[in-house]
């Protein structure tokens, strides 16, 4: 059984046990949907009051918001195992992962696929649909491909953030809220066009955590609007690759962390 099939096999197990607790699964999905729906209503109210957001129309903001929401929902669902690392490391149960002849990454990935993230995913897709409905864009295959690439790059980026967060537990299982701020804060920040933020914030989310590369930069190209940073089109089109690049770096950091794992005394 290769790693991909093993991953599917592990997920089957996780999904089956999630469905065992059906009530909690359904409330989880509903909860996710509600939380994000509330956010959306907030945005609508904002537009109702001001008409545009620093020159961005409702349809455009909906495209940003929907893209990032879908990407985050996917990254978050895949990365749940990494999000749970603190408990695994604190209790010494990571021992078990290392005793098996498989990469720790596939085992942690396979630990859990959070199905309740379907709530957020559905909501993101609805917003994306709404964006298309409002914008009535004349997209060709190139634009649609770039949009899909952007979502994939975003999912990889968010997964990478969860990997980094998980890797940090090898050094400390405390004060991880700080890292959580990057993933959960990142999704909130990325839901809006990055031009509305201060310079330093923009730079951080372009070069350190390349969030702009999986939202603002390619999406301006999809929307056919000017990019205030003035980057050439080819750079904006390939920007989503920063997502997988970030994930690769995160996995490198993960291997470093595994060597630092201390287990527990008993």
């Amino acid at each position: 059984m290769n790693e991909a099939r093993l991953y599917i096999r592990l997920l089957e197990t996780s999904i089956r046990s999630q469905l065992q607790y059906r009530a909690s699964f359904l409330t989880g999905v509903a909860g996710q949907f509600l939380v994000t729906a509330m956010e959306m209503i907030g945005i609508l109210a904002l537009f109702h009051r001001f008409g545009t957001l620093q020159g961005w129309t409702l349809g455009q903001v909906a495209l940003f918001y929907g893209t990032i929401s879908v990407a985050f929902a996917i990254g978050d669902a895949l990365g749940t195992g990494f999000d749970r690392m603190a408990a695994l490391v604190r209790g010494g149960d990571f021992d078990r992962i290392l005793l098996r002849p498989r990469t720790s990454v596939v085992q942690i990935l396979g630990q859990e696929l959070a199905l309740r993230r379907i709530g957020r995913l559905a909501q993101g897709l609805i917003v994306l649909g709404a964006a298309v409905w409002i914008l009535e864009p004349a997209w060709g295959p190139a634009e649609i491909a770039l949009l899909v690439l952007t979502v994939a790059g975003g999912a990889a980026l968010f997964l990478g953030l969860f990997v980094v967060q998980g890797a940090l537990t090898f050094w400390t299982t405390e004060s991880l809220e700080a890292v959580n701020a990057f993933s959960y804060g990142g999704v909130t920040a990325g839901q809006y066009p990055i031009t509305i933020y201060e310079d330093w914030f923009r730079r951080f989310f372009t070069f350190v955590v390349p969030l702009a590369c999986v939202s603002y930069l390619p999406l301006t190209l999809v929307l056919g609007v000017e990019d205030v940073l003035g980057l050439p089109a080819w750079m904006r089109a390939s920007a989503p690759l920063a997502g997988p690049a970030f994930l690769a770096a995160a996995l490198g950091f993960w291997s470093l962390g595994v060597r630092h794992y201390q287990s527990t005394g008993s």
């Binding site: 093993l6 005793l99 098996r100 498989r102 794992y261 005394g265």
Partner: protein
């Protein structure tokens, strides 16, 4: 050539000290104070293929740490070890494919799954061929009497039931090397015997190399030809149980049941020492190099009417306790 080679293995744990109170916690964020625990301090030993070695020592001696380093879970601070020519933490996946590990304190099974599903997951993780899986699974189920447990979720098993399942889980992929860290902890007498029997069989019949950590000296006496004693992260001695006894003390015990109505009036010049006097039973310690058992018995019976006599070694627990304390009898 030895299968397992351990050289000057050292493991230092750095523990961030927590300071009390909010102010302490905030200070800890800025500058961490670390405390060091030297769990292993230059451990050296070698184990040949097919050996069954006991690895004993007092609490906190570094036994579990050694097992974790040898399993590839922990990276040592310095020193090295090789199993079948592989460095465990560097070549982890190839290494653990041929390794079974049981930690008595913690299960390797999936908490929420029935035992049989855990086994099936292990089959896929280790890529065990279906026919081997069936044959080995059936054999272990029979030997460890798991028949009634296979469909029970792991979290519902008693400690002893779980331990038997854990041993089976560690053997499903037919490893050539087996590490057992306190595998008999909390087991009842029958389960202990079953566990030992399985370990003995796979060692004798399949030539599996076993390192066994335990605080139960019966495990050691019934299984191990060779014992390593570790204390404070260093190997204290290495040899057979008999040679361990000799390093602590060559003393043997003579148990005397005095005849009805006779009371013990002290050694009175006999070349021995009183270990215990309880009613009509007296336990004497003597050094066989100093006085032969026959001579001691002769001189004793000349002085006291005796109903029964027994010569034996001091209980192994006593020997080990002395060894751990670093004392000589």
């Amino acid at each position: 050539m030895s299968q397992i080679v351990v050289e000057s293995l050292t493991k230092v744990f750095r523990i961030a000290e927590r300071r009390a109170g909010l102010r302490g916690a905030l200070a800890g964020l800025v500058r961490r104070r670390n405390r060091e625990v030297r769990a292993l301090d230059g451990v050296c030993f070698q184990v040949g293929r097919g050996e069954l070695v006991g690895y004993i020592g007092p609490n906190g001696a570094g036994k579990s740490t050694t097992v974790k380093v040898l399993s590839g879970i922990l990276v040592p601070t310095s020193g090295t070890c090789e199993v079948d020519g592989r460095i465990p933490w560097r070549d982890r996946r190839a290494h653990v494919r041929n390794l079974g590990v049981v930690f008595g304190q913690r299960t390797q099974l999936w908490w929420d799954l029935p035992v049989v599903e855990s086994f099936e997951l292990l089959r896929d993780l280790y890529a065990i061929p279906a026919d081997r899986f069936r044959a080995v699974g059936d054999e272990l189920t029979r030997r460890l009497d798991l028949g009634g447990l296979l469909n029970v979720p792991v979290r519902q098993l008693s400690l002893g039931q779980r331990m038997r399942c854990d041993l089976a889980a560690a053997l499903l992929h037919e490893p050539g090397v087996l590490f057992l860290d306190e595998p008999t902890i909390g087991l009842d007498a029958a389960s202990k015997l079953a566990m030992r029997e399985v370990v003995r069989t796979i060692n004798r019949e399949q030539g599996v190399t076993v390192i066994l950590t335990t605080h139960d000296m019966d495990d050691i006496e019934s299984l191990c030809q060779r014992v390593l004693v570790v204390a404070e992260g260093k190997i204290l001695c290495d040899g057979s149980l008999a040679s361990l006894r000799r390093t602590v003390s060559s003393e043997r015990h003579l148990i005397v049941d005095l005849a009805e109505g006779i009371s013990w009036n002290g050694l009175d010049g006999l070349p021995a020492r009183e270990v215990e006097v309880a009613g009509g039973r007296v336990r004497l310690g003597f050094d066989p190099e100093n006085v032969a058992a026959a001579e001691l018995i002769g001189r004793l019976t000349a002085r006291y009417p005796v109903r029964d006599l027994l010569v034996e070694n001091p209980p192994i627990e006593e020997v080990i306790a002395k060894l751990y304390a670093g004392g000589k009898a």
